[in-house]
Symmetry: C2
Amino acid sequence: MRRIADSTVRRLSLYLRTLEGLEKEGRATVSSEDLAEQGGTTSAQVRKDLSFFGSFGKRGLGYAVPELAHRLRDILGLGREYRVAIIGAGNIGQALMRFRGFDQRGFHVIRVYDRDPAKVGCEWNGVVVQDEEELDTDLRADPVDMAIIVTPAPEAQRLADRLVEAGVKAILNFAPIQLRTPDDVVVKNVNLALELEALSYGLRHR
Amino acid sequence: MRRIADSTVRRLSLYLRTLEGLEKEGRATVSSEDLAEQGGTTSAQVRKDLSFFGSFGKRGLGYAVPELAHRLRDILGLGREYRVAIIGAGNIGQALMRFRGFDQRGFHVIRVYDRDPAKVGCEWNGVVVQDEEELDTDLRADPVDMAIIVTPAPEAQRLADRLVEAGVKAILNFAPIQLRTPDDVVVKNVNLALELEALSYGLRHR
């Protein structure tokens, strides 16, 4: 399969949310127009996005809701549960631990690390904060699927190196730096200040 | 100016961070290669991104650091301070209030609203949580430049409508729904569960 843009993957997730709502209501079919509205896009874009992954839907009948939901879950790799470690128990790290949106989607935070002795041993949401020193041996003995780095920028690369070394293949990075990782490691970045800068750019150029 | 992709704006923010670091070190010039490395991209991409905004730099000499930093701050609308309101004082809202990365970039959280009586009146980071009921009159009397919606999905659209009605032109939305807003309102979305789904997609299709 050819490389799909991040923005397409993002829309697939939004279509899936719509489909899951419709599944609960017992709806059998949905039009590309309805999917488009919920995903904030056009019906042509919906058809284009879905066409990357083969042929779905029938002209005039729309898409079969359970079938398309099942395919999208499969495409997005959501047919399973994921074990997640959070590295950094600061404000954002704590908020992520308590964030219910992760568990609901099959992403379970099972471990949290920090190097601050004042934080190590604290329990949040049933998970005890562990000493960062233990990270390497822990992850080798009992691997996680994903790690979320929520540390200050100067520590992030060193931690990413250790995570990769311990076998982690997927990292969500909140630190405001560009991580260098091997090609077989998937990295996504969330930079909250950058989001506000995108807004200020938008205000400036409306 | 023609519409610039979000991904380009994001890279401009990253180039600016590099330039600001170099300004502190007193460096006079920087090559597109150096900017590329910090921005996680290629020197061709750097030249292309900057060419949208006119001609910078001289072949063989690179870019003048203070001049390019100044231009990027201007392009990104960062030559001023912004007043920000946070709507929703839950886990993520609280973390954002305490997040130092915003103030450093000129985004000042001056007001927080929630509808939970247990939260109204609490003080975090010098800001007292106000009753959501007061939002409309407050924002008309003393406007903010941006609002950050950090509420559950079912409340987000209604709050966005009230913000728009009260004159807010830029919204950062953390609720997992697609907000409907007028064309002159800039909206950016942060969906943390979607970021993990992008990782699971990445793991599935490596």
